[in-house]
């Protein structure tokens, strides 16, 4: 069904983090951007669709102290808003936002980090764009930071902090679907590493290797798939066709996959990254 294409080489290998691959398609310029996190650095590659041109850029986590590792980047993802796309980096120190090509940092938000390390680790993780003007980022304490993003410029502000939880956030997803009330029912819970929303259905990947589909409105479990023999690290949906992609280490020999993304809305092509691997592996439909 899919066959392997030429891989894209990275400047350094991928770290074993959840959802460690983000993709942005720039149709007007026939380019696709990819980002992969390596410890305290984000490797960004811009690949032309004809496969001839690749350019690389590396972004550093801010306030990274070279002697310690407390500036590890937890996640990098693009937020697509109607007026602009922003690249958001979350780390143990805070949240950085860049213009979509990674050229300029437009915003920095520092997390409250204690002076000396405590038993409770501090970091930000889980990024989602909401409607026209908000970017939401999760924090290890369980809070969700809501940023107000203007259509241009760097006047981004923290507008709300939603604090209802005590648990660290792993992933976030959003979509436009109008008026919804969400409730829950009896769900057998285990660690959830990745979540996507599609047409009101919640699709979640779990540590037991299962994928579960829930009805978004009622929280009812629709389907359960015993998909994998290992922890699911990443999940993606091709929004136009509803194809679900979930990978771990099965199809790519001797690689623990940590990021998987469709490269286009139809699901024609997808890409994966693996721990210790310095390339992005690509597949297209046969």
């Amino acid at each position: 069904m899919y066959h392997k294409e030429k891989s894209i080489q990275l400047k350094s290998s991928a770290s074993a983090l959840y959802n460690n691959l983000s993709v942005l398609r720039i149709a007007p310029r026939c380019l696709t951007y990819f980002t992969v996190v390596h410890a305290n650095v984000v490797n960004m590659v811009s690949a032309s669709w004809d496969g001839l041109n690749y350019s690389h850029r590396q972004l550093q986590s801010k306030e990274g102290n070279v002697a310690t590792s407390s500036s590890l980047i937890m996640q990098a993802a693009w937020c697509v808003l109607p007026s602009r796309d922003l690249l958001v980096l979350t780390s143990q120190k805070g949240i950085q936002m860049y213009e979509s090509d990674g050229s300029i940092m437009v915003y920095w938000h520092a997390l409250d980090t204690p002076e000396t390390p405590t038993a409770k680790a501090v970091f930000a993780r889980g990024i989602a764009a909401v409607r026209e003007k908000y970017i939401c980022v999760g924090v290890s304490s369980g809070s969700v930071l809501v940023f107000d993003v203007p259509s241009k410029g760097s006047n981004i502000t923290l507008s709300e902090v939603l604090e209802e939880h005590k648990e660290a956030i792993t992933d976030m997803a959003s979509e436009c679907s109008g008026n919804l009330v969400l409730t829950y029912s009896n769900i057998h819970i285990t660690s959830c590493s990745s979540v996507k929303l599609w047409k009101g259905t919640v699709i979640a990947g779990y540590g037991t290797g299962q994928i579960r589909l829930y009805e978004g409105v009622t929280g009812i479990l629709h389907a359960e798939v015993n998909a994998h023999a290992r922890w699911i690290y990443s999940l993606d949906i091709a929004p136009f066709t509803g194809l679900i992609e979930h990978m771990y280490n099965e199809c790519v020999t001797d690689t623990q996959i940590c990021g998987a993304k469709f490269c286009d809305g139809d699901g024609y092509a997808f890409a994966v990254t693996g721990y210790d691997l310095s390339e992005i592996i690509r597949y297209t439909q046969a």
Binding site: V66, V130, V161, I189
Partner: protein, 448 residues
């Protein structure tokens, strides 16, 4: 200006394994948000949070409580690496026909130092992982805690083997919590090494109890974070180990083989089943798909108690006299990834490192043997010539750059070191003799 919002009203219902928490509020901007979470109030595991922002659903997948998480990685790293070191030294001591009493003394001395109460207190404090250099210095110190000596090349090789072995164990653990079972395998073996010496055995048992206390309550998600932290530490290390290559668990490019067959992790179902449910929660249909692996059902869970069958074999001693300890120094194949300096320390004597070493030096009591004739050297290579050859030919990128306290021209740093050394005199800690501690520090400065 940010505003923290808490719920004016809250309704919650709980059933056997779910908790519904709903909040509504209307801030002035017109945002309406409903937040729900699900999960047992008892268990640390959670599912995901659904939020509507302006009546839009935002989902967040939740992770269990971050208490005692990646700041709890260091003790596991230290104990497992220490365990591997003991396996290797034990094998080499036998292979070199070191007299049993001397060999036993070395093992006992190292284990005593490793489980030194003050040192472990320091280690178990919530903190970031040490830099690679600092950790290597700690193990250098540990390996020389007795009458045994190791040349630079042998120490490098010892450390290569230790780190690649634990990296392999972390990568291959079926589920993140199994890292704790691997740690218990090491602890069981260490306990066996000192079973004839009650004083040391009780130190080891104490530490084992501490491990159980701190780590058993952690959830799968927290172990996953520990695992991810460890994997970042081991990133880009692809040194080829002879015993791994022979057993076909490592490829010639230094990467480990990840099997797609065998039992699934405890708590996971074998892949292939799709179940569909009706609105009332009844299963209405089942479908099967073929997955490309060949998995069997999970084995029973290993024991997390002081004693018990751990089930997992990772972390047990893979060396024996007939399976020698060797490494290929050509660990950098064409395709090996670039040696990226993640934790580069431009000034190896950055304050943090000094403080760290100071605390460690304060905790380690070295037994300076009065009779230097009893000292001996252990070689990790087959011959002295091989050892020397290894030292010369070691690729630059694999150099561990052990911290050399003497290598500084910075007056301020010298002053700091002097101050730290001064602090040792005030700790009032019982030392074998007051002068030996000073000798010890000087010896360390000279030796590094």
């Amino acid at each position: 200006m940010a505003r923290r919002i808490t719920s004016p009203s809250r309704s919650s219902t709980s059933a056997s394994d779910w908790l519904l928490l709903a909040v509504t509020w209307q801030p002035r901007e017109g945002l309406q948000t409903l937040i729900y979470s699900a999960g047992s109030s008892e268990s640390a595991d959670r599912g995901f949070l659904l939020t509507t922002c302006d009546c839009l659903p935002i989902l967040a997948a939740l992770h269990p409580s971050p208490e005692r998480m990646s700041t709890r990685t260091l003790p596991l790293l230290f104990i497992n690496l220490g365990g591997e070191m003991l396996y290797i030294l034990d094998q080499r001591l036998r292979a070199q026909n070191i007299p049993a009493d001397k060999a036993k003394k070395v093992m006992n001395d190292i284990i005593t130092t490793m489980f030194n109460k003050k040192f472990l207190e320091e280690l178990f404090k919530p903190q970031e992982l040490y830099s690679k250099k600092a950790l290597r210095t700690v193990f250098d110190r540990l390996a020389h805690a007795s009458i045994m000596r190791l040349n630079q090349a042998s120490m490098d090789k010892l450390y290569d083997l230790m780190t690649m072995a634990f990296k392999y164990q972390v990568l291959l653990c079926p589920r993140p919590k199994d890292i704790l079972l691997v740690s218990f395998n090491h602890m069981d073996a260490i306990r066996d090494f000192v079973k004839d010496t009650p004083s040391i055995l009780s130190q080891v048992d104490e530490t084992n109890k501490q491990l159980i206390e701190i780590y058993t309550p952690l959830s799968g998600g927290e172990f996953q974070l520990i695992r991810q932290t460890l994997l970042i530490f081991f990133q880009d290390m692809h040194i080829r180990v002879s015993i791994f290559l022979k057993d076909k668990v490592q490829n010639s490019n230094g990467r480990f083989v990840l099997p797609t067959s065998g039992p699934v992790p405890y708590g996971t179902h074998t892949p292939g089943l799709i179940r569909l449910f009706s609105c009332s929660g009844e299963e209405v249909r089942r479908m099967q798909f073929r997955d490309c692996g060949n998995y069997s059902a999970a084995l029973r869970e290993g024991s997390f108690e002081m004693y018990g069958d751990r089930v997992i074999k990772l972390g047990t001693n893979m060396y024996s006299v007939s399976r020698p300890v060797e490494t290929h120094m050509s660990g950098t194949s064409k395709n090996s990834s670039q040696h990226t300096k993640v934790n580069t320390t431009p000034n190896p004597l950055a304050k943090e490192e000094l403080n760290l070493l100071a605390r460690l030096m304060g905790g380690l009591e070295v037994q300076k043997s009065a009779n230097t004739d009893s000292g001996f050297r252990v070689n990790l290579f087959a011959t002295d010539e091989e050892e020397e050859e290894a030292l010369i030919s070691r690729p630059d990128e694999l150099s561990y750059e052990v911290i050399n306290i003497q290598a500084t021209k910075d007056k301020q740093t010298n002053a700091e070191l002097a101050k730290i050394m001064g602090e040792f005199g005030e700790t009032g800690e019982p030392a074998p003799s007051s002068s030996s501690k000073g000798d010890d520090l000087l010896a360390m400065m000279d030796g590094l």
